[in-house]
C-alpha cells in the first residue's frame, strides 16, 4: 500500500493539566482502508480521535488532512472538510425522530436550513438522502420513531447513519459497538463491512472478533503511546501486543 495517506499526524501530544493523555503519536490513514485503534481503557484512544476530529487542540504536534493542517479550524469547518465522526457516548438527538436526526445531518451538507426553507425541492432531496442512509443502516421501519424510544443498538446504528448522511470522506467511529449484545454487534459489524468499499474508516473498538474481521491495519495504544502499528495479521501475531494488551484486556474482562 503506497498510497498517499488522506490523514496523518506528527508527534501528536495532548495534556490535561498534569496528565498526559496522548504522547508523541505518529498515525496515518490510507484511502479506502479500515484502520482500527486498540488499547486498554485510558490508553488515550478517544483523546486521539478527538484530536483527529479537531474537537480538542493538541498540546504539541499536528494533524494533516489531505495534506492540509486542521489546526485552528473549528470543529464545524473540519466536518465540512469531510471528516465525520461518531462518539463513544450515544450521541443522537433523542427528542427528534430517527428520520429527523438524519435529515438534520444531511441538510447542512445540502444547502443548509434556509435553503430547505426556500425550496420544497431541496427539502425533498434532503428527505430522500436521509431515507437512503436509513436504508443502508436498516432503520427505515423506525423512521418516525423518536430516537429516544429506540433500542440502544438502533441508536448506535442511527449514529452511524447520521455520519453517513454527512457524506464524509473519512469516518471516525469511537466504539460503535460499545455495550451491544452479540447479535447487535454482528449486525453492526456487517453494516461496517458493507461500507468498506465506499468509505475510509478509523475505528476504536474493544470487540476483538469484529476488529480482526474488519480492520486492514491496526494501531495498538498503551498509556498514550503507540505500542505497535501495522497490518492486521502482524498485530495478531505480535508477542508484545499479546502480553501487554491482550493480557490486560483479559484482566479487565474477568475483573
Amino acid at each position: 500500500m503506497s498510497q498517499e495517506p488522506i490523514l496523518y499526524t506528527q508527534g501528536l501530544t495532548r495534556r490535561f493539566g498534569g496528565l498526559v493523555a496522548v504522547s508523541d503519536v505518529d498515525f496515518d490513514v490510507r484511502p479506502g482502508e479500515i484502520h482500527a485503534i486498540l488499547g486498554p481503557n485510558g490508553a488515550g484512544k478517544s483523546t486521539l480521535i478527538n484530536l483527529l476530529s479537531g474537537e480538542i487542540p493538541p498540546s504539541e504536534g499536528e494533524v494533516l488532512f489531505h495534506g492540509k493542517p486542521i489546526q485552528g479550524k473549528s470543529v464545524r469547518q473540519i466536518a465540512r472538510m469531510g471528516i465525520g465522526r461518531s462518539h463513544q457516548k450515544t450521541n443522537i438527538f433523542p427528542r427528534l425522530t430517527c428520520l429527523q436526526n438524519c435529515e438534520l445531518a444531511a441538510r447542512i451538507h445540502m444547502g443548509g436550513v434556509f435553503g430547505s426553507w426556500r425550496s420544497r425541492q431541496r427539502a425533498r432531496e434532503v428527505g430522500e438522502r436521509a431515507l437512503e442512509v436509513l436504508e443502508i443502516c436498516q432503520l427505515v421501519q423506525r423512521a418516525y420513531t423518536p430516537a429516544a424510544d429506540m433500542s440502544y443498538g438502533e441508536q448506535r446504528q442511527l449514529q452511524i447513519a447520521m455520519v453517513l448522511a454527512t457524506a464524509p470522506t473519512l469516518m471516525l467511529l469511537d466504539e460503535p459497538m460499545a455495550g451491544m449484545g452479540r447479535d447487535e454487534t454482528v449486525q453492526v459489524t456487517e453494516l461496517l463491512e458493507s461500507l468498506t468499499d465506499r468509505y475510509t474508516l478509523v475505528l476504536i473498538e474493544h470487540d476483538m472478533d469484529s476488529v480482526f474481521r474488519l480492520a486492514d491495519r491496526i494501531t495498538v495504544m498503551v498509556d498514550g503511546c503507540v505500542l505497535e502499528s501495522g497490518p492486521t495479521d502482524q498485530i495478531r501475531a505480535s508477542e508484545k501486543v499479546r502480553d501487554v494488551y491482550l493480557g490486560r484486556h483479559h484482566e479487565e474482562a474477568t475483573a
Binding site: 490535561f16 493539566g17 498534569g18 496528565l19 485510558g42
Partner: protein, 286 residues
C-alpha cells in the same frame, strides 16, 4: 496628577482589588470544580459581615468573633450543599441559577428578621486601629494594610494548594475537564462538599474582615456579587490566577476610572469585560 497622589491611588486600587479577589476566589473555585453558579454568593458575603458584627457585639472582641464565625460559615455552606445543590449537579445551570436566586430571597429576608434593617458598623480592632500619615493631610488606616496582607497570604496559600497538592492537581484537571475528576477515582461527592464549604467560607471571611471597613446593611451583597462575576469572567472560569489578576485589574480600573473618567465610572468595569470577551471569550487565564 502628582506622584504621591498617583502612588496612593495605586495603593487604594491594590487594596480594593485584593479584597475583590478574596470574595471572587470562592466563586471561581465553585464554578471551576463543581460547575455550579452560585448567585447567593453575595448573600454569603453579607452573612459573614453580619455574623462578625453580631458576635463582636456579644463578645466584645472582633478576633474572637471571627474565630467563631468561620466554622458557622463552613457549616452553612455544608448545609446548603447537602440540602439543595446535591440534586443539581446533573441538571442544567438554569436550575442552579433559580435555586440560588431563591436562596437570595430567603437569606436576605431571614437576615432582616434576625438582624433587622438598621445600618451597623464594626469598630476597627486593636492593634490595627492606628493610621499612617501618607501625605500632609491624608492618613491611611493600618487595618487596610492588614487586610491587604491577609488577602495576599490567602492568595499565596490557595496558589500553593493548587500548585503543590494532590487536591490542586484535581482542581486544575477539573477546571479543564470535569469528567477527568471522575476518571481519577476520587469521591466527587466529598470533594464537592469540601469545595463548596471552602468557597462559602472564603466569601464569608471576606465579609468578616471587610466589616470594619464598610457599613453593614441589608442587601450589601447584591452589588458586590455582580462585580465578582465580572472579575471571574475576565479572569477565566475556575482559574484562581485569573481571579487574582482580574480582581487587581478591576480594583485599579474602578479606582482610577472613578477619578480620571468619572462620566463613565459606573460602566468602566463592564466595558473592560466586553473588551476582554472580544479578544478572549473564555477570559484571560482560561
Amino acid at each position: 496628577m502628582d506622584l504621591a497622589f498617583f502612588g496612593v491611588q495605586l495603593l487604594n486600587g491594590l487594596q480594593y482589588g485584593l479584597l475583590l479577589f478574596l470574595i471572587a476566589s470562592g466563586l471561581t473555585l465553585i464554578f471551576g470544580i463543581m460547575g455550579i453558579i452560585n448567585l447567593a454568593h453575595g448573600a454569603m458575603y453579607m452573612i459573614g459581615a453580619y455574623l462578625v458584627w453580631d458576635l463582636t457585639m456579644r463578645l466584645g472582641n472582633f478576633w474572637l468573633a471571627i474565630v467563631i464565625a468561620i466554622p458557622i460559615a463552613v457549616a452553612l455552606g455544608l448545609v446548603i450543599e447537602r440540602l439543595f445543590l446535591d440534586t443539581l449537579y446533573k441538571r442544567d445551570h438554569l436550575y442552579q441559577v433559580l435555586l440560588t436566586f431563591g436562596l437570595i430571597l430567603v437569606i436576605n429576608e431571614a437576615q432582616r428578621i434576625i438582624w433587622g434593617g438598621d445600618v451597623h458598623s464594626v469598630a476597627i480592632p486593636a492593634p490595627f486601629d492606628a493610621s499612617l500619615q501618607l501625605t500632609d493631610n491624608l492618613q491611611y488606616s493600618v487595618y487596610r494594610l492588614f487586610v491587604m496582607g491577609v488577602c495576599l497570604a490567602l492568595a499565596g496559600v490557595i496558589y500553593w494548594v493548587i500548585r503543590h497538592t494532590r487536591l490542586g492537581i484535581i482542581i486544575r484537571a477539573g477546571a479543564v475537564n470535569r469528567d477527568m475528576v471522575e476518571g481519577l477515582g476520587i469521591n466527587v461527592r466529598t470533594l464537592f462538599t469540601l469545595i463548596f464549604s471552602v468557597g462559602v467560607a472564603l466569601t464569608a471571611f471576606a465579609g468578616m474582615i471587610a466589616a470594619p471597613l464598610t457599613s453593614i446593611t441589608p442587601g450589601m451583597g447584591d452589588s458586590i456579587l455582580i462585580t465578582c462575576f465580572v472579575v471571574v469572567v475576565i479572569g477565566g472560569i475556575g482559574s484562581i490566577k485569573g481571579a487574582f489578576w482580574g480582581a487587581i485589574l478591576i480594583g485599579m480600573a474602578e479606582t482610577f476610572g472613578s477619578v480620571l473618567i468619572p462620566s463613565i465610572a459606573s460602566m468602566v468595569i463592564y466595558l473592560i469585560m466586553a473588551a476582554v470577551l472580544l479578544v478572549k471569550p473564555r477570559g484571560l487565564f482560561a
